[in-house]
Chain length 166, copies 2
DNA sequence: TGGAACTTTCAAATAGTATTGAAATATAAT
DNA sequence: ATTATATTTCAATACTATTTGAAAGTTCCA
C-alpha cells in the first residue's frame, strides 16, 4: 500500500474507532494525524490536511492536550505554536485509561457504593441491592486493576496477564 | 436512600455511562431497568417505566438480546413475551467484552497489520510505519488478553491481576 | 377463517452533537 | 503605539443519531 493511501485509511479508521468509544471523530483524527507525523504540525497544517475549520482544530487540540496525548512545542524564530503527539503507545494507553477512569469509572463506583445502602425489604428492593452490590464489586475491582496498571507499566501488565491466562 | 429514588438514579446513571462509551442511552436504560427487576418485564412494562415508545423498546430489546445481555422468556398462559437481564455481572462483562472485541478491536488489529507493510523510505513513511507497528503490537496484545480472559473466567482474571500488581 | 393481541418495521420528526467561520481577544514585531 | 499575526470564543448551522408512532406483519385462539 502507498503511504498516501495508508495515511488516509489510518486517519479515517482511527476516527471511526474513536467515535465508537465516545471520542469525537475530529479529535481522534487530529490525534491520528499527529501520531503519524514525524514533525510537529501547526494549526494551519492540521486544517489543511484534514479539511476542517480553525475553530474545530483549536478545540480538539486543546482537548488532546488536556488528555495529555499532545504537547505544544515552540520552534524558535516561529511565532506560531506547533503540536506533537506522544508517540509511545504505552503512554497513550495509560493516559487514556487514567483519564477515563477518573472521569467516568470513579463516579460510577461512588454512586454504586451509595446505592448499595438503599432501604427496603421487598423483592424489588432486594434485587436492586443485589445488583448494586455486584456491580459495585465488579467496578471497584476493575478500578483497582486499572489504578495499579496505570501506576506501573502497562506493557509489563499485559505480558504478565497473558502469561497468567495461558 | 429510598428505593424509588435509587432506581431512578441508577437508570439515569447507567444510561449516561453507556453513552459515554458509545452505547445508546435508551439501550443502557432498558438494560438497567431489567437488571434491577426481579421479574421479567414485558414491552409494555418497559415503555411505561422509562416513558419511551414501543418502537424504541422493541429495537433496544432486540439489540440487548443480540449482545446476549437479555433473554426472552415465556410465561405460560401468557401470549406476550417477557424479557429478563442476565444478572451475573461477570457474564455481563464477558459478553460486552467479547462483542466489542469482535466488532471493533479485531477489525482494527487487522487494518494495522496491513498498514505496517506500507511502502516508502521517507521520514514520513518511517514515522507512519513505526506508529502502525507499535499500535499493532499494542492492540494485538490487548486482543490476546481479552480473548483469554473471555474464555476463562473474568473474576479469576481480575483477582489474579490484582495480586500480580500489588 | 376472522379478528384480537402482540411484535416489527421504517419514514418522518426530534433531539443531540459537532463544525463552521467570523468577531473578539491576545501576542509579538516594528 | 500601531500593525500584523496568531489564537480563542461562540452563535449559527450542519450533521448524525435517536425516537416516535402509525402501518404492516405475525401469531394465536375461538
Amino acid at each position: 500500500m502507498e503511504l498516501h493511501e495508508a495515511k488516509d485509511k489510518f486517519i479515517q479508521a482511527w476516527g471511526a474507532f474513536g467515535s465508537q468509544w465516545g471520542i469525537n471523530r475530529s479529535m481522534a483524527q487530529v490525534h491520528a494525524l499527529l501520531l503519524i507525523s514525524p514533525e510537529p504540525l501547526s494549526t494551519e497544517d492540521v486544517m489543511e490536511q484534514l479539511n476542517i475549520s480553525r475553530g474545530n482544530v483549536n478545540m480538539n487540540l486543546r482537548a488532546l492536550i488536556d488528555w495529555h496525548l499532545v504537547d505544544k512545542v515552540l520552534k524558535n524564530g516561529e511565532r506560531r505554536e506547533f503540536f506533537q503527539a506522544e508517540k509511545d503507545v504505552w503512554k497513550i494507553a495509560t493516559n487514556i485509561t487514567r483519564e477515563r477512569k477518573k472521569r467516568e469509572l470513579e463516579p460510577m463506583v461512588r454512586l454504586l457504593g451509595e446505592l448499595k445502602q438503599t432501604t427496603g425489604t421487598s423483592a424489588e428492593a432486594k434485587a436492586f441491592k443485589q445488583t448494586a452490590t455486584d456491580l459495585h464489586d465488579l467496578t471497584s475491582r476493575i478500578d483497582a486493576v486499572l489504578e495499579r496498571s496505570a501506576r506501573s507499566d502497562v506493557q509489563w501488565f499485559l505480558k504478565a496477564a497473558s502469561t497468567l491466562l495461558r
